[in-house]
């Protein structure tokens, strides 16, 4: 028989680690963040400002730089709303109905995560390029997809479409449909029920998904690089312009453009945190993040 003896050291909650272990884990976490995230961000800004603010701002006076910024904003303005609508529709279908091929749809949504962006760009070149399947026909009809805006939008949509759907699917599955049913029994139309119950219930997940989608849409390099053709002032987005400048040894301008994307990321993060602090209280149950 086992003898039970009194504990020789003071008891501590079984779910926490000892102080040295805790400190080690925290230190590892902070060090990792500092080396791989914070340091690069600092480098981007210090390189961009190496020759002072006036040179920094001069970068954005350049016509090609402005064109790149405009193009990036335009692409995001098309791709993000499209993927928001698609993401809501797909996650609604997956979370609220049973249908044949549902798991297939879920797998397909994840496809862009598992395919290299360069490959997804190539797919469009193969389909719509000059030597592609539809290329000759399109050229004959005066439609330009590859090396033009439509190709860049297509590639961006492809790469960014999982973001909203991936955020919403688990959220909607967890919430079920009783809120919508309640709205219907109270006389609301299906669309009204969607606006007044579904949308508020998924608002945080949706916002987060849209922010991620937007950040990726503006920052996408690989897929866009393949379809854009790198025509400075015409089909170069910010990331492509950064590459162009960097390869031309124009480091300050390259980092200045890069700092724009970095700023976008930081603003996104701060905006999300502020929104959560301001409205998180009244929407706490809806946060599924």
């Amino acid at each position: 028989m086992v003898e039970f003896t009194a504990a020789t050291h003071p008891p501590r909650p079984v779910t926490t680690e000892t102080a040295p272990v805790r400190m080690l884990l925290i230190a590892v976490g902070i060090l990792f963040l500092a080396v791989f995230l914070i340091l690069p961000v600092i480098v981007v800004f210090s390189e961009a400002l190496r020759k002072g603010w006036s040179i920094y701002f001069a970068t954005f006076a350049d016509a090609d730089a402005q064109a790149a910024i405009r193009l990036t904003l335009l692409v995001a303005a098309i791709a993000v709303p499209l993927n928001t609508v698609f993401g809501i529709a797909a996650s609604w279908a997956i979370a609220k109905f049973e249908f044949l091929g549902k798991s297939m749809l879920i797998t397909l949504i994840d496809l862009p995560f598992s395919i290299s962006p360069v490959i997804s760009g190539l797919i469009y070149v193969l389909l719509f390029g000059a030597q592609g399947y539809f290329g000759p026909w399109l050229t004959a009809h005066g439609v330009h997809i590859i090396f033009a805006l439509p190709g860049i939008v297509l590639a961006t949509v492809f790469v960014t479409f999982p973001f909203v759907a991936r955020q919403l699917i688990p959220l909607m599955q967890e919430q079920g449909s009783t809120d919508e049913e309640a709205a219907l029994t109270l006389g609301a139309s299906a669309f009204r029920a969607f606006l007044t119950t579904t949308l508020p219930n998924i608002s945080w997940g949706l916002l987060y998904g849209v922010l991620l989608c937007n950040a990726r849409a503006m920052g996408e390099f690989g897929a866009v690089s393949v379809v854009s053709g790198h025509i400075s002032g015409l089909t170069n987005t910010i990331p492509l312009q950064v590459e162009l400048l960097y390869n031309g040894y124009n480091f300050v301008a390259a980092f200045a453009m890069a700092s724009l994307l970095t700023l976008l990321a930081l603003v996104t993060l701060v905006a999300k945190t502020l929104l959560e602090m301001r409205y998180g209280e009244s929407l706490a149950p809806a946060v599924g993040l």
Binding site: T178, D179, E181, L186, P200
Partner: protein, 345 residues
């Protein structure tokens, strides 16, 4: 409003399916749909609401065929099992929801809406908590907000799915009494689903007992308790134990021993006798119809419950005995059946 459900069938490929359920609900009555889980009671309630469309059969509202009527037009009030309150709206906004979504020409003015919400808050005794959000309310308070929200649209029938399921025993009892009073006051046809027979018997004017997708019996609490139509109703409503018996000649026999009464047996041959514990009289070894041995005895709220092994077959039967009775495990006793019912096996 009167509701007639005729031969409702609904196939899910899982539990809760309906297989030809029939039920007539009278105007203004409070009726319980009682049954075990998977019996289809919630499905039937959802069919009345229009949240499920039956595969066959029809739903009549006051003789008007409402089978295909969209849920929005049925003018029903539905209280969901988990209340389904809108989390991002205050209690008052939840209650006002049904008024806000009315088409413009029917929608009351802002002031009218406010006074109507106030009225309903008073009715459910939550006037102080109008501005609270659902998660700031207790289960019982959420339940009452859900009820007020359902009542706001002046529904022709009030449908409640397991209304007290998620509440603790004390709150449950208070709310039950309160709902009964509310029903008397507003006099609206009310249908509620429950798996708790005590709740159904205490609260409802009539009880409909469902099993395997069919309504087995509908009647006043006394009727279903005292005159169960089927073995299922007998064993589901109230405690029951049963023993296999044989009806031969004009007597019931258990293991070759005759019983004193036939308990309504009509068909010759093997059948089953159902007895409630309080209808088993326990006495001296020599006095009873049958002999048995007490194998277990435990306290219930009101008295004691004895488990008795009968004869050689060791069939167990439960009996309610007096607290003062001197009984112990292993004791040999005699027993007689005061009341019981025979159903085919």
């Amino acid at each position: 409003m009167r509701i007639r459900l005729v031969d409702i069938a609904k196939d899910f490929g899982r539990t809760g399916a309906l297989r030809g359920a029939n039920l007539d609900i009278n105007d203004g009555e409070l009726i319980a749909l009682l049954g075990p889980s998977g019996s289809g009671k919630t499905t039937l309630l959802r069919v009345i609401a229009g949240l499920e469309i039956p595969k066959s059969g029809s739903v009549l509202f006051d003789d008007y065929d409402a089978t295909a009527m969209p849920v929005q037009q049925r003018r029903i009030g539905f209280v969901f099992q988990n209340y389904a309150l809108f989390k991002h709206m205050s209690a008052a906004d939840n209650i006002a929801y049904g008024l806000k979504v009315l088409p413009r020409h029917e929608r009351p003015s802002k002031a009218q809406m406010r006074s109507r919400v106030q009225e309903l808050l008073d009715l459910v005794q939550l006037s102080d908590l109008a501005k609270r959000y659902p998660r700031q309310l207790s289960g019982g308070q959420q339940q009452r907000v859900a009820l007020a929200r359902a009542l706001a649209v002046e529904p022709r029938v009030l449908l409640l799915d397991e209304p007290f399921g998620a509440l603790d025993a004390k709150v449950r009892k208070d709310l039950r009494r309160w709902l009964r009073e509310l029903h008397t006051r507003i006099g609206r046809t009310t249908v509620f689903v429950t798996h708790d027979q005590e709740e159904a018997l205490e609260l409802a004017d009539r009880v409909a007992i469902l099993n395997l997708g069919k309504v087995e019996q509908v009647g006043k609490p006394d009727e279903v308790y005292d005159n169960p139509a089927t073995a299922f109703v007998m064993s589901f409503v109230g405690d029951t134990t049963s023993i296999p018996v044989e009806f031969s000649g004009d007597r019931l026999w258990y293991e070759g021993r005759p019983l004193n009464a036939t308990f309504g047996a009509s068909q010759q041959g093997r059948c089953r006798l159902y007895v409630r514990p309080r209808d088993v009289a326990v006495g001296d070894y020599v006095a009873g119809e049958l002999a048995g041995t007490i194998v277990n005895i435990h306290r219930t709220a009101a008295g004691r419950r004895a488990e008795i092994a009968l004869g050689n077959a060791k069939k167990l039967i439960e009996a309610e005995v007096d607290i003062t009775a001197q009984l112990s495990c292993g004791q040999r006793i005699g027993l007689s059946f005061v009341k019981g019912r025979v159903f085919p096996e």
